[in-house]
């Protein structure tokens, strides 16, 4: 077996009696862009800081290319970190910021200069080399922070929500830039964020954390398509996941999932499903098919509110016992719509255990059930 670049083996952390991180196992391959996604307080930053050496590991061990990290102080780990608020040295120029780590790692003046200039050229920040951090914009500061990490040519990058202080426009462009850079440099990257878009777009693989435990790990698209539990499904839904009470009705090999907004045919259910059961049904706004031809449909829901996002429109409709959020293309939205009808066929349904929230299955609903 090839040793992974970074391996977490039973890594846990407690503050007093509070367990911040359950003992978790995770392997990150060489050159992989791995994203830790979770709400604030889920332990993702703690995990990152433990990898950096800025916090101690209470249980387990982290291995970097097979070597245990805990005996090595952060100064000698050859890991570079990009901080949320950039953490540039305010009293040094951009050049000084990038040269600092190189000089500390024993590179001579010529080598340092060459590396700083090469990295600056890569990031397009050469004109800023003589400026101080307070003289440049937030986006530029973040680029310098990236440059400081890149110039060192470390074995691992740690990034702690590096985009969250940037405004939306800059954020998108720096995000693309980070992805391209990482592809180009091929350095293993562990990236922490609470933003699902960042996680989806950046990660080769990702792990969703909640309450100090990994909820699910895998490729972003797989996690999106088949969330392991209600939490993951909810976290990867915009603006929110529709969660409905449902029942499973078995009829000759296939199953019908009945919900307050309609019945969905599950043509190829897994064998291990409980015989009959109450379940919870999750549907993302963009996974629900609707029609405005209310007369043709049997049942319909009154529209309460419409939000136009531009290319997409969010339709909020009331049903008996709750509210359904549906996202459709703006040009599919009639002006005078009063009601919507749910079209089961083609809608994507996630079925969760009623008690624990674990996923029982995911399916694209077949024809009328």
């Amino acid at each position: 077996m090839i040793e992974p670049a970074l391996r977490f083996a039973g890594v846990g952390k407690s503050y007093g009696s509070a367990r911040i991180l359950e003992d978790l196992d995770l392997e990150i391959a060489e050159g992989e862009f791995f994203v830790l996604l979770g709400p604030s307080g889920c332990g993702k930053t703690t995990l990152l800081r433990m990898t950096a050496g800025l916090q101690t590991i209470d249980r387990g061990e982290i291995f970097l290319r097979g070597a245990p990290l805990s005996p090595i102080p952060p100064e000698r780990r050859n890991i570079a970190m990009v901080f949320q608020d950039y953490a540039l040295y305010p009293h040094m120029t951009v050049y000084g910021n990038m040269a600092f780590g190189l000089r500390r790692h024993g590179h001579d003046r010529t080598e340092t200069d060459a590396r700083v200039r090469r990295t600056a050229a890569l990031l397009g920040i050469e004109p800023l080399l003589d400026r101080r951090p307070h003289q440049i914009s937030g986006g530029q500061q973040q680029r310098v922070a990236l440059g400081r990490a890149i110039a060192r040519d470390p074995v691992l990058y740690l990034m702690d929500e590096p985009l969250s202080n940037l405004d939306a426009q800059v954020r998108a462009s720096v995000r693309t830039e980070i992805k391209e850079l990482q592809r180009r440099l091929g350095v293993t990257t562990l990236y922490v964020t609470h933003d699902q878009v960042e996680a989806m777009t950046l990660g080769d693989r990702m792990a969703v954390l909640n309450d100090g435990a990994i909820q699910q790990a895998g490729r972003p698209i797989d996690i999106y398509r088949e969330p392991a539990n209600e939490f993951v499904a909810r976290f990867l839904a915009t603006p929110r996941l529709n969660l409905l009470e449902g029942t499973l009705e078995h009829s000759n090999g296939s199953i019908v999932v009945r919900t307050p907004v309609g019945a969905f045919a599950w043509t190829q259910p897994p064998r291990s499903l409980p015989a009959t059961a109450k379940v919870r049904v999750g549907m993302r706004p963009e996974e629900i098919k609707i029609s405005f031809d209310v007369a043709a449909a049997g049942a319909s829901l009154p529209i309460r509110l419409i939000e136009t996002l531009g290319s997409q429109v969010l339709v909020f409709a009331d049903f008996d016992g709750g509210e359904l959020t549906v996202s459709i293309p703006a040009d599919a939205m009639p002006h005078d719509a009063q009601r919507i009808a749910i079209v089961p066929s083609g809608s994507i349904v996630h079925v969760f255990d009623h008690a624990g929230g674990a996923a029982l299955g995911h399916f694209v609903a077949g024809g009328e059930g």
């Binding site: 950096a52 050496g53 800025l54 102080p73 952060p74 100064e75 000698r76 780990r77 890991i79 570079a80 970190m81 901080f83 949320q84 608020d85 953490a87 540039l88 040295y89 305010p90 009293h91 600092f100 780590g101 500390r104 790692h105 400081r148 060192r152």
Partner: protein
């Protein structure tokens, strides 16, 4: 008339400053050019003769030199000790709060009490300092009785009294440093000593400047320890500018001379602060 507005808002402050700072200063200058008696009259105009007498007096130069020595030795030493203590007390140690209180205690002690305590501790006849030094084979040291030792002894006492105040200021400075920047330096490979000199100390620059200004002004005005412990002695070895002015004004009743000394000192402080500001803003 928008341009008049700012001055209107500044007027109250300027009025107070004028009444309690600039006017007395001008009055002091006026006084130094006359030969006032004991009463309230200015006395006859004598021009700059007080200054020429002062500058011709070798004792003035000695006192000025001693004042500068006192300031430039005790302030950096006190600040260095304060910074070292602040670095220690910035650590997440058990009982650190108790130590902070202990180090700050001398600051809130009355100067008279500190002076009395110091006189007792540095007493030439079996003071506790000599007693402790004797235990490790040093001394006895003629603390306050020898001309060479008296001024350093006063400095020790002043440092002891002031260090807690400087320490609290440095501690506040340390605690407001951006932690992430120090973390970044660690990951960049900087060990503790390097981190201190390349990151912590430069980032503390505003704190250091503030403290240097406050401490320089405070030390220049040293009077109470001299008055309470040595009265400038032995044979003027601890005489400093403020005490010298006090002697001239209140012992020799030379108010014009006392005013001249005060103004010369004022000019010295201004120049030194100017140099300091220039050095820090470079």
């Amino acid at each position: 008339m928008t341009s008049a507005r700012p001055y209107l808002y500044l007027a109250p402050t300027l009025a107070v400053l004028a009444a309690f700072t600039y006017f007395p200063l001008a009055r002091l200058a006026e006084l130094s050019l006359h030969a006032p008696g004991i009463g309230t009259s200015l006395g006859p105009w004598i021009g700059f003769s007080a200054y020429s007498t002062l500058f011709a007096n070798p004792l003035f130069w000695r006192v000025a030199g001693q004042t500068l020595l006192y300031v430039f030795a005790s302030v950096p030493i006190a600040m260095a000790i304060a910074l070292a203590l602040a670095l220690l007390l910035d650590q997440p140690l058990r009982g650190v709060g108790v130590f902070r209180v202990l180090y700050y205690t001398p600051v809130v002690m009355p100067t008279v009490a500190v002076a009395a305590l110091a006189l007792w501790m540095f007493n030439a006849n079996g003071g506790i300092i000599d007693y402790l030094l004797h235990a490790i084979g040093i001394g006895p040291v003629p603390w306050l009785v020898d001309g060479a030792w008296a001024l350093p002894t006063l400095m020790i006492v002043a440092v002891w009294k002031n260090v807690g105040y400087y320490m609290i200021i440095y501690l506040a400075g340390l605690q407001s440093l951006p932690r992430a920047v120090l973390d970044a330096a660690r990951l960049d490979g900087a060990r503790p000593i390097a981190r201190f000199f390349t990151i912590t100390l430069p980032l503390l620059r505003p704190t250091t400047f503030f403290l240097a200004v406050v401490a320089l002004i405070g030390s220049f005005q040293v009077f109470d320890f001299v008055n309470l412990m040595t009265q400038g002695g032995p044979s003027n070895a601890t005489n400093v500018l403020v005490y010298f002015a006090y002697q001239n004004g209140f012992e020799y009743v030379q108010l014009g001379m006392a005013a001249a000394i005060s103004l010369v000192m004022f000019a010295m402080v201004l120049m030194i602060l100017g140099a300091l500001a220039w050095a820090f803003n470079r």
